[in-house]
């Protein structure tokens, strides 16, 4: 493990010297990141590798947070950051802790990334179609170590992959826990479906019944439930604790955030503040049970439980975010959901969702869908948006599928922090919702 050379006890001792008031919170965050990217032979240069490490020291005192970050991990950098956060150091800060980091021993997995791009192209060719396509495949590896003055949790690590495809009719991206044959087939299937629907006409504006398949449901739930139940979003309009018990969805909709069951090597036991994660019921039987909270929000409200603090970069403070949304399966087969939405739209995926926290308005951008005829998805329809308030959209859910599927909800860039978010969800059927071009 990369952090074996950190003298965490010495770091903890140094941090404890910053504590002046009973409510002070102080921690150190050490981060090591590797991102390798394969951009295809025509992208100059096709192979790219980023390897960085750094640290941040944070002090929370009252309503103010002080944060100092460095692009090095060594004793001198830590001591400088500590002094900067302390601002007025009344006593000697003591000896610099020993912070030794190993070299980067493994080669970046560029060959694996290039091989996956080839596998996707082969899988597309097997479907007897060809179209202009630029693929970028990336591997993401991150290791973190949080140190507090009293507790030093075990280091955490995560590794996953992402893919971006650029086509004349738009871009498409996905997160992947592994790069295997099944993943290449799924990606190829999604790209070919977009190709085949590229000239389809959008549906007429109006209200339609809709069945969202898992990949589309994941985007909806991330935006409409996870973001809506982040303590900072709730706090913008009052006390986040007031959301508890509010009925947001139907009784057969239960949604959890469970970083401990995230796919592949993205599973976590502690969050980016070093606090234990939990199986957090965001909605139980349609009612809000426990919003997403980090340490700062949990200290501000007795109703909130920490453990959902995430940070995309060491120079930014943590915030309450979801990691892995899980929707409990319902009782209906997908065929039943489709049959119940005859004449409506089957939506395999969504490009993005957008929630306006001020108004509660929500939009889901859909690249294409299929008209449901005879209980089956049939002809394609082109790009449109689902538009509604969060409450109306969730209230329109009348059916939850009985088969859930892991689906990377994608990258979330709220507040300038780019974070991978995951979801495992069944299909959802929604009653008449507003469709816009």
């Amino acid at each position: 493990m990369s952090f074996a050379g950190l003298d965490t006890a010495a770091v903890a001792r140094s941090l404890s010297a910053l504590l002046e008031e009973p409510e002070d919170w102080v921690d150190a965050y050490f981060e090591r990141i590797e991102e390798a990217a394969w951009h295809g032979p025509e992208g100059p240069p096709p192979g790219r590798v980023r390897r960085e490490q750094g640290l941040a020291v944070r002090l929370v005192r009252g309503r103010r947070t002080y944060l100092a970050s460095r692009d090095e991990i060594d004793g001198a950098s830590f001591a400088r950051a500590l002094r900067q956060v302390a601002r007025a150091w009344s006593a000697s800060p003591g000896a610099e802790p020993r912070l030794a980091m190993p070299g980067w021993d493994e080669p970046a997995p560029l060959a694996e990334l290039g091989g996956f791009a080839e596998a996707v192209e082969t899988a597309i060719a097997r479907r007897r179609v060809a179209f202009p396509l630029r693929l970028a495949v990336r591997s993401h590896r991150r290791e973190i170590q949080v140190v507090g003055p009293r507790l030093v949790p075990a280091p955490e690590g995560e590794r996953f992959f992402s893919l971006e495809a650029e086509m004349p009719w738009g871009r498409w991206g996905t997160l992947l826990p592994t790069l295997d044959t099944a993943a290449a087939e799924r990606v190829a299937g999604a790209l070919v479906a977009r190709f085949r629907a590229r000239q389809a006409l959008p549906p007429r504006p109006g209200r339609e019944q809709v069945v969202l398949f898992p990949a589309a449901a994941a985007v909806l739930l991330h935006e409409a439930i996870a973001h809506a139940l982040e303590a900072d979003v709730l706090g913008a309009s009052g006390n986040p604790g007031r959301a508890l018990g509010v009925k947001l969805g139907p009784s057969d909709l239960s949604v959890l955030d469970d970083p401990g069951s995230a796919p592949g090597e993205t599973r976590r036991t502690t969050d980016d503040e070093g606090l234990a994660v939990c199986r957090r019921w965001l909605l139980r039987a349609g009612a809000v049970e426990q919003p997403l909270a980090d340490m700062a929000w949990a200290r501000a409200s007795a109703d909130l439980v920490p453990g959902a603090g995430r940070r995309g970069r060491r120079d930014l403070p943590p915030g309450p975010r979801s990691t892995h949304l899980e929707v409990l399966t319902g009782s209906r087969a997908e065929s039943e959901l489709l049959a119940g939405a005859e004449g409506g739209l089957a939506v395999p995926e969504a490009d993005w969702g957008r929630l306006d926290p001020g108004t509660g308005r929500f939009e889901l951008s859909v690249p294409y869908a299929r008209r449901i005829r005879g209980g089956e998805p049939s002809e394609a329809v082109g790009r449109f948006r689902l538009s509604s308030t969060v409450a109306d959209l969730l209230g329109a859910i009348y059916g939850v599928g009985n088969r859930s599927e892991p689906a990377g909800a994608g990258w979330c860039a709220k507040g300038g922090q780019r974070l991978a978010v995951w979801a495992t969800t069944p299909a959802l059927a929604l009653g008449a919702v507003e469709i816009r071009p």
């Binding site: 295809g40 100059p44 309503r63 103010r64 002080y66 944060l67 120079d315």
Partner: protein, 429 residues
């Protein structure tokens, strides 16, 4: 100044490893970020130090970047793949005088917090009931050094203060304002508060107009958003043919008032430097000159009509704007242009991003503003977007004022007040 260490030994090591084309970029920087949100305050101090290497030979190339020491052994670099690397040769630029403010200290924490508090106070005074919901002030300075195997060995410094404000009006509407200066000391609390108050006031009291056509005045924030929407065709990949699809055989794009300039050494510009992201000398380049593309019939004046930018040491350089603006000279004040409009519209703010559909030859931009009658601003307008064909946008520009202002986007994008005809008003979606 304590800048990056010398990159020359690393360049020599790459050459010894057989990489005939190589470029080493080193960057150091420090910044202070002060933010207000949710009744809390955040003070961040960041010290940055990163490197980036592009290298290759006939067998391909790679890009690597990181913190700490770059790899020394040849085996630690990524494998070569794809095309060879084409690096620029050393070129002498025009004489360059570094701006004096590069050496000015960053705003202290207390001064930064006082500036944000003053904006909040002024906003409440301008528009009772309005308040700042969030404010982020970033101020930083950086030093860059770049060497390559074709003789480039250059260094430059930058200094930037970026402010993002989110305010809520008495009626609950929110508006966001983003500005950038070389120094935070140049930001005026009163001016920013007035701008936010005007925007909130119109957003809350405005209604869609009954008339859907007429002459339009576009204030600088609106003109800049339109120009930002055109960026992919102005400085991006040449795959889309730039702006050629809208030009006639002689390369004429539209109105002769259309002059678009990118100037990497714009006096007073927040990104002004002697060198761009690949070490080429910066200069003033006209991407559109009096409605005319640079060379009739040519898709592009070169691989990058503007210069190259590096968003950070983490990214390879790419074609990008530095200070891109509508550069037609004018002596007219905005008031002169307003007086010219007997009946029309004055759009003072963009209410969102511009949407450009280059394939379908359409654009739209949600806006806020006023109806104009007899050269005077009348009823406030909101909930609408200006829209039209891209060809109409090029053809309809009638005049520009002298009040050029820049806004942070992908580079700095600038526009004066524009008088334009032939566009439509549609419902904002």
């Amino acid at each position: 100044m304590s800048g990056p260490p010398s990159p020359s030994p690393l360049l020599a090591a790459l050459a010894r490893g057989g990489l005939r084309a190589a470029e080493v970029y080193l960057k150091t920087g420090r910044s202070r970020h002060v933010a207000l949100a949710d009744a809390s305050e955040l003070v961040t101090a960041t010290e940055e130090a990163g490197w980036a290497v592009r290298a290759g030979d006939r067998g391909g190339s790679f890009f690597a970047c990181g913190t700490g020491s770059p790899p020394e052994a040849e085996t630690e670099w990524p494998p070569l793949a794809g095309a060879s690397l084409d690096l620029p040769a050393a070129e002498s630029g025009e004489p360059w005088q570094e701006p004096r403010e590069l050496d000015a200290p960053l705003l202290a924490e207390r001064e930064s917090l006082a500036l944000l508090a003053a904006i909040d106070r002024e906003l409440a005074a301008e528009l009772p009931g309005a308040r700042l919901v969030a404010a982020d002030l970033d101020e930083g300075a950086s030093e860059s050094r770049l060497v390559n195997s074709r003789g480039i060995d250059v260094a430059w410094r930058l200094r930037l203060a970026a402010l993002r404000l989110e305010a809520r009006g008495p009626g609950g509407r929110t508006r966001v304002l983003g500005v950038a200066e070389t120094e935070a000391r140049r930001l005026s609390a009163r001016g920013l508060a007035r701008q936010l108050a005007d925007s909130l006031s119109v957003a809350e009291s405005g209604r869609p107009p009954a008339e859907r056509r007429g002459a339009m005045l576009l204030a600088p924030p609106v003109g800049a958003r339109l120009l930002e929407g055109l960026l992919p065709r102005l400085v991006g990949e040449p795959a889309g043919g730039g702006l050629l699809p809208w030009a006639d055989r002689q390369g004429r794009l539209g109105s002769e008032v259309w002059t678009v300039v990118d100037d990497g050494r714009l006096p007073g510009g927040v990104l002004a430097a002697a060198w761009d992201g690949v070490g080429a000398p910066t200069r003033r380049r006209e991407l559109v000159a009096e409605g005319q593309l640079p060379r009739a019939g040519a898709a592009r004046p070169g691989p990058s009509p503007a210069g190259h930018r590096r968003a950070s040491w983490r990214d390879p350089p790419r074609p990008g704007a530095s200070h891109l603006f509508l550069g037609r000279e004018s002596r007219l004040s905005p008031a002169c242009l307003i007086a010219r409009v007997e009946r029309g519209f004055y759009w003072i703010e963009a209410a969102g991003a511009a949407r450009f559909d280059f394939e379908g030859d359409r654009f739209s931009l949600p806006v806020l503003g006023f109806a104009l009658e007899g050269g005077r601003a009348r009823s406030p307008l909101s909930g609408v977007a200006i829209s039209g064909t891209i060809a109409a946008l090029f053809a309809g520009l009638v005049a520009v004022a002298r009040d050029l202002r820049f806004f942070p986007a992908d580079g700095m994008i600038g526009s004066p007040t524009l008088l334009i005809e032939g566009l439509e008003i549609v419902e904002a979606t």
